[in-house]
């Protein structure tokens, strides 16, 4: 099973992972054309800055015991037994945001524009060469690693 593993010592807070994530979820866009000028453009990963600890990349961990799945009443959140990735099905979502409240890492959020769905990492599963954020990190602060569980 593959997970995105962070090494926060390496993070410079350049936000390229944000740009890559927005671009990956904006159809037909690339780094030149991705719309960064609108609050409708949503990133599924975040960089938190704090004067003491510096930059911390906040990424969905696709947890082994995912609180978002456990708290989801409509079945929109589901853990894939093969890949281990936590998947979100917008059509089943009732927008109760129990997942948002229960995520221990604060990575899930309602969408800015309609407030009717959850913004959630999909591990860029449709892309053959892995998550876009990882490819866009100039410091290799985020990496895809094989984990045992």
């Amino acid at each position: 099973m593959k997970r995105i593993i962070i090494d926060r010592e390496k993070c410079d807070g350049c936000l390229n992972c944000n740009v890559a994530c927005i671009s990956a979820h904006e159809e037909g866009s690339n780094f030149y054309t991705v719309n960064l000028g609108s609050v409708d453009s949503e990133t599924r990963n975040f960089i938190k800055f704090d004067a003491k600890t510096g930059y911390t990349p906040i990424f969905c961990r696709h947890c082994d015991e995912p609180e978002c799945v456990l708290s989801c009443m409509s079945g929109a959140m589901e853990k894939d037994p093969v890949t281990g990735h936590v998947k979100y099905d917008e059509s089943k979502c009732a927008a109760c945001y129990m997942c948002v409240m229960n995520c221990p890492f604060g990575v899930l959020k309602p969408d800015n524009k309609t407030r009717t769905k959850v913004i959630k990492c999909d591990f860029c599963e449709e892309k053959q060469d892995g998550p876009s954020c990882v490819k866009a990190c100039p410091k290799q602060a985020i990496e895809v690693k094989e984990v045992s569980r």
């Binding site: 740009v19 991705v34 960064l36 609050v39």
Partner: protein, 627 residues
Amino acid sequence: MNSNFNCKTCASADQKLETFISNLSQETSHHRMEGQSVKCGFGLQGICCRLCSNGPCRITPNAQKGVCGATADTIVARNFLRAVSAGSGCYIHIVENTARLLKKTAESNGVLKGKQALAKLASLFEIDESDEHICAGKIADMVLADLYKPDYVKMELVEKMAYKPRFDRWKELGILPGGAKSEVFTGVVKTSTNLNSDPVDMYLNCLKLGISTGLYGLTLTNLLNDIMLGEPSIRLASVGLRVIDTDYINIMITGHQHAMFAYLQDRLIEDDVIAKAKAVGAKGFKLVGCTCVGQDLQLRGEHYQKIFNGHAGNNFTSEAILATGAIDAVLSEFNCTLPGIEPICDELKIKQICLDDVSKKANAEMKPFVFEEKENQSNEIINSIIESYQTRRGKITLNMLPDHGNDDTLTGVSEGSLKSFLGGTWKPLIDLIVSGEIKGIAGIVGCSSLTAGGHDVLTVGLVKELIAKDILVLSAGCSSGGLENVGLMSPSAASLAGPKLRAVCESLGIPPVLNFGPCLAIGRLELVATELAEAIGIDLPQLPLVLSAPQWLEEQALADGAFGLALGLPLHLGLPPFVTGSPVAVQVFTQDMLNLTGGQLIIDDNAQSAANTLNGIIEQKRKELNI
């Protein structure tokens, strides 16, 4: 994976060069490309601002303005105008030095090889003077006087040089430039912290800089150099790494200021200097062309057959040329002298000498060119190069590529030599365009880069597509270096052209891609376009002519591009010039420019679709002209 480095070298349209570089034991730009492949999204869109200590600010979905309140539109426009100003400054530096050298050459009754260029400029500038040295001096004075004007005093030669309909439009738009050096200053001031925030004002300012860059930095540099160094004349020449002859002491030249080499290159073939070379075991000296100044030498190669061995390659071939081990010294006076040559020169004990401190390389000897001391300076340079030859040759392993390039590249094409070739009139070319034998003209200009598919990949791909559509290609810049090395400037390349263009090329014995030489020669393309438009009696935007800088690299290319847009020409770029983060920039460049100057920016990194778009524009313009 590269055998000597833990990386994969980037692709090149030039397969032999790609293989050669991938096997080198020296690191080149082609090796470093992979390590730099992750790009910053904010940088690519031009929405990162580093103008104050509150920054760097970036426009993100959650932060739509910089701390100061600057929007994406303001940030992009400031960054862009800054880049255009810097690019303009580079070309204005070149024309300033060239004019100063012409003045000094004239004052000292030096050799003036280009009589036609002298007569042409004298007539253009309305100078009635029979003494050629006095006349040349006056020409230089008039150019310098304009360059040094303040920004609030318009340059006088613009009206004499520009095509009337263009001049009138520029006047209407209020973009006639003041003194070219001051305009660069204004561009830098406007874009500093919390000054101009009006994107449209800044883009109009870019057009103004485009005009001063184009008419002075490009067009006049060519013509002033022609006066001193001789006019181009059409001939076949050798190109590629094959031109390096190991029997000689080889000097690679890089830069854009041909006149700085004028005395030295003549001196290198005098008997006493050849004797010095022979005394250390070489047959003599040879200049090996690289970057644009190499293209300049090639263009005027007719006058320099003894000293110039041919053009080896463009900017991103320079490291490979040095890695052959057969170059004994690098003489540089401007860009594109890559910092990447430094460790290669150190390892292979290649002497580096800089003639102009604007391009001082970290480990090079600085020898600022002084006209009055050129005799002594040249002797010192010759002696130190001989010393370099003695220390290194025989000890450095040579790694030659003798089958690279070709011996039949058509060179020496200029506004003058092409017109003479056509019989002293543009009518034959106009007739071919009217009849559709030549559908239109594409000026493929600018640099070579390692993006957009790799070294010269998009340039070569696009040119092949265009000629297949019967569009004649005129090339100027480092793009020429790539196109000639892959054989597209050899007469046999006619077979790659569409049936109509092929027939024209074969009957005339010319290739479908005509080599105007250095990026400076974009000014020569402007002269050709203007003369064609004048002969037909239309304005430039009506011509079935497009420009493309498929692999533009640097700030100078952006200033060239601003000139192209000011001329009202469609301009294609492979990659966007760091402006796509601003909706206003995209609107101005791709739509509104059509109403301002008639120009238009087209961005496309796909050779096929870009060629289709350019072909569509040419066909539309033909329709509008009823041909």
